[in-house]
């Protein structure tokens, strides 16, 4: 295998400037949305005393879960020693940190008292999964930054596997923490399950790789760098495997719930009677985000070895649509379904007991969510412009030792 050369992108093209402007605009819109909600009060959002976590949390969870998943590409190289992924390590770390920052921005600015973040730093309840997550998030950023530096500083390269292992274990803990935020909610029928933690890990593999694929494809296309079909085939098929694992966990989650009579109500709601939530589950999560990408990557790659960048990009986009659907059904659908205070009874009150609550995302909430995505985008965009994150080429001969050996003989 040839030595990998990394370089910055030039960052002067109209495309770069246009993208930076759009992301900047979204970022500022997100901040403006926060100011508006702070000024007018949270009643202007779609949130209520029934649905306390809205679309910003869907965005935040997507970014945080995907952040740890985006890191997997680097882990595959550093920990599992797959040299094919070596050139992809740096971008993987950058994307992981960028998405976590974006997710954290949303989480913090969605608080009722964002100004009191320092309070959260100074007062910790160590029994709270949220408090654990604060350590897991900050620790993740610190570990990945060090891991990245070890990769980029040639004299320190020998420590990369050890740092990769630390980052791998930490990211597993982080996603366990994210899933457990929901898993420990014993009172909510849609959650209350230990499967949330491993399911979130599977989701992170899938969502994170989907985002990684898109960013890599866009960055290479925008800066005129080639990607060989060996790598495309690997990335596409790996995504397919992760998508299948998410589908497996989803099936186990719902089958287990269907066996428990006490959970049959919420299952009927999600799977059959839930209107938009049922549509998003079957249409968004299962078909668009699950079966279609599976078909795309496995059927395409069976026909021959070729899996085009366009197919991988399309499959990745579908996975992201599925990811938002899944998180929306989980987070919002799980809340709109009423709490069961009196099993078997018909219940009514002035506080929406016994009825399915309504939730419609408001513009400020969507603005905040997109603002977080924009922050992640800006960090990546300026990261690859300022530092050497991207390999100059990803053609087969440059990254695949087997392919290179054949070429050399020829």
């Amino acid at each position: 295998m040839k030595r990998i050369i990394f370089s910055e992108i030039e960052g002067r093209s109209a495309g770069f400037r246009g993208l930076a402007a759009v992301l900047g605009l979204f970022f500022l819109t997100g901040l403006a949305a926060v100011m508006y909600v702070e000024h007018a009060g949270h009643h202007v959002t779609g949130g209520s005393n029934q649905v306390v976590w809205g679309i910003p949390d869907v965005f935040a969870m997507f970014l945080i879960v995907s952040a740890s998943g985006a890191l997997n590409v680097a882990i595959i190289s550093s920990v599992f020693r797959k040299t094919l992924y070596k050139p992809l390590e740096r971008l993987s770390c950058l994307l992981a940190v960028a998405m976590l920052l974006g997710g954290l921005m949303i989480l913090v600015l969605d608080l009722g008292r964002s100004d009191r973040v320092i309070v959260a730093m100074l007062n910790r309840n160590f029994k709270s999964v949220f408090a654990w997550n604060l350590y897991l998030y900050t620790g993740f950023i610190a570990i990945v930054v060090v891991y990245l530096w070890l990769q980029m500083e040639r004299r320190m390269n020998r420590f990369v596997p050890a740092a990769g292992m630390a980052a791998f274990l930490w990211r597993l803990a982080l996603t366990t923490g994210s899933g457990s935020i929901y898993g420990v909610l014993v009172a909510r029928e849609a959650y209350d399950s230990a499967i949330m933690a491993p399911m979130f890990i599977a989701m992170s593999f899938s969502f994170g790789l989907a985002v990684y694929n898109l960013v890599l494809l866009a960055a290479c296309r925008g800066s005129g760098r080639e990607i060989g079909d060996v790598l495309l085939r690997r990335l596409g098929r790996l995504l397919g495997i992760f998508v299948a694992v998410v589908l497996y966990f989803t099936a186990v989650q719902h089958l287990a719930n269907l066996y428990a009579a006490e959970h049959s109500g919420v299952e009927r709601f999600i799977l059959r009677d839930g209107g938009i939530y049922t549509l998003l589950f079957w249409g968004g999560q299962v078909i668009v985000g699950g079966l279609l990408p599976l078909l795309l990557v496995f059927v395409s790659s069976r026909r021959g070895s070729h899996l085009s960048g366009r197919t991988v990009a399309l499959a990745s986009m579908l996975v992201i649509v599925g990811a938002f659907s899944q998180l929306y059904v989980l987070i919002i659908g799980g809340q709109v379904y009423p709490l069961t205070l009196f099993p078997g009874m018909e219940v009514s009150s002035s506080f929406y007991d016994g009825v399915v609550a309504s939730y419609a995302p408001s513009l400020p909430e969507i603005g905040l969510g997109l603002g977080g995505v924009a922050l992640a985008g800006l960090v990546v965009l300026f990261g690859i412009k300022l530092l050497r994150f991207l390999p100059t080429t990803l053609v087969n001969a440059a990254i695949d030792p087997h392919h290179a050996a054949i070429s050399d003989k020829a």
Binding site: G41, H42, H43, G47, S48, N49, Q50, V52, W53, L111, G112, R113, S114, R116, V117, V119, A120, N123, R124, N125, K127, S128, V129, F130, A131, L134, I181, V184, L185, V186, A187, R188, Q335, L339, T340, L341, F342, G344, M345, E346, V347, S348, S349, S350, F351, Y352, D353, A357
Partner: protein, 264 residues
């Protein structure tokens, strides 16, 4: 507590230069001024609810006490809302006409058994659990349980993450979505923070009972009883020892301080 008070009095009386006559005169003036200027507050403070139970300022809450409620559904009428009105009045929970976001610390829930046809009505509020999930999940420790069993939110450390609202099985908590006006000094609230029934802690600490219980006894069906579940001699302890009582979602094992009787 009374012993302490007596000891303190003796010590002060033994101080050089102490004039008991002057002291009692000042006390009488203060009492007269109090009755004149703030009759409601003053009379409430020495009210019949029992100053012997009142907690001195600066004295820690005792774990020897567990405040609780017993609500008898046979005396709770479906149309009666006195407990709710009293809570709103006592704690200044004026809404904005937006039921989805306005706070409710106590609500009347009507339940109907489709199999038997039985209908009942009951007030539901924070159940002041012995094992409160809201306290477990709160990242800053703003949700806390006092030694006497009352579950509260510290409005100074609540960051408004709303995780406690996700964790509460009773839907007992509200998020303050809008700006507040005309707050009651004894029930401070805060925009962007979470709140719930305080069991009228300001009254309880002064030796009184929650506003809902008082209103239910005065204007409602007398369904609510407040007292110390750890005191075997208290009325509430005697009743829970004599009759079967129920907890909402007893299966969760949270040991709520609010119990119900005749909940079928």
């Amino acid at each position: 507590m009374n012993m302490n008070r007596k000891t303190k009095k003796k010590n002060i009386a033994g101080r050089p230069g102490f004039d008991p006559g002057r002291r009692s005169f000042l006390g009488a003036v203060a009492a007269a001024a109090g009755v004149t200027l703030a009759p409601g507050v003053f009379l409430y403070g020495v009210g019949a609810s029992g100053p012997a139970l009142a907690r001195e300022p600066g004295v820690a809450v005792s774990g020897d006490v567990r405040w609780g409620m017993l609500i008898d559904l046979n005396h709770c009428d479906k149309g009666c809302n006195e407990c709710v009105s009293a809570c709103v009045e006592e704690n200044g929970l004026k809404g904005h006409g937006r039921p989805a976001t306005d706070a409710q610390w106590i609500r009347k829930v009507d339940i109907h058994d489709p199999d038997t046809g039985l209908s009942q009505s009951l007030p539901v509020m924070c159940q002041h659990c012995a094992e409160p999930p809201c306290v477990d999940v709160c990242p800053t420790g703003a949700s806390f349980k006092r030694a006497d069993g009352i579950v509260l939110v510290d409005r100074h450390t609540c960051i408004g993450c709303r995780y406690c609202m996700m964790a509460c099985p009773y839907k007992a908590r509200s998020f303050v979505h809008e700006e507040l006006e005309d707050q009651k000094p004894h029930a401070p609230r805060g925009q962007g923070t979470v709140e719930s029934c305080t069991m009228c802690v300001h009254r309880v600490d002064a030796g009184g009972q929650p506003a809902c219980v008082e209103a239910c006894g005065r204007k409602g069906g007398g369904a609510m009883l407040f007292g110390d579940l750890k005191d075997p001699g208290s009325e509430i302890s005697k009743r829970v020892a004599s009759y079967a009582t129920q907890q909402i979602r007893a299966d969760l094992g949270l040991d709520p301080g609010v119990r119900y009787r005749n909940l079928k």
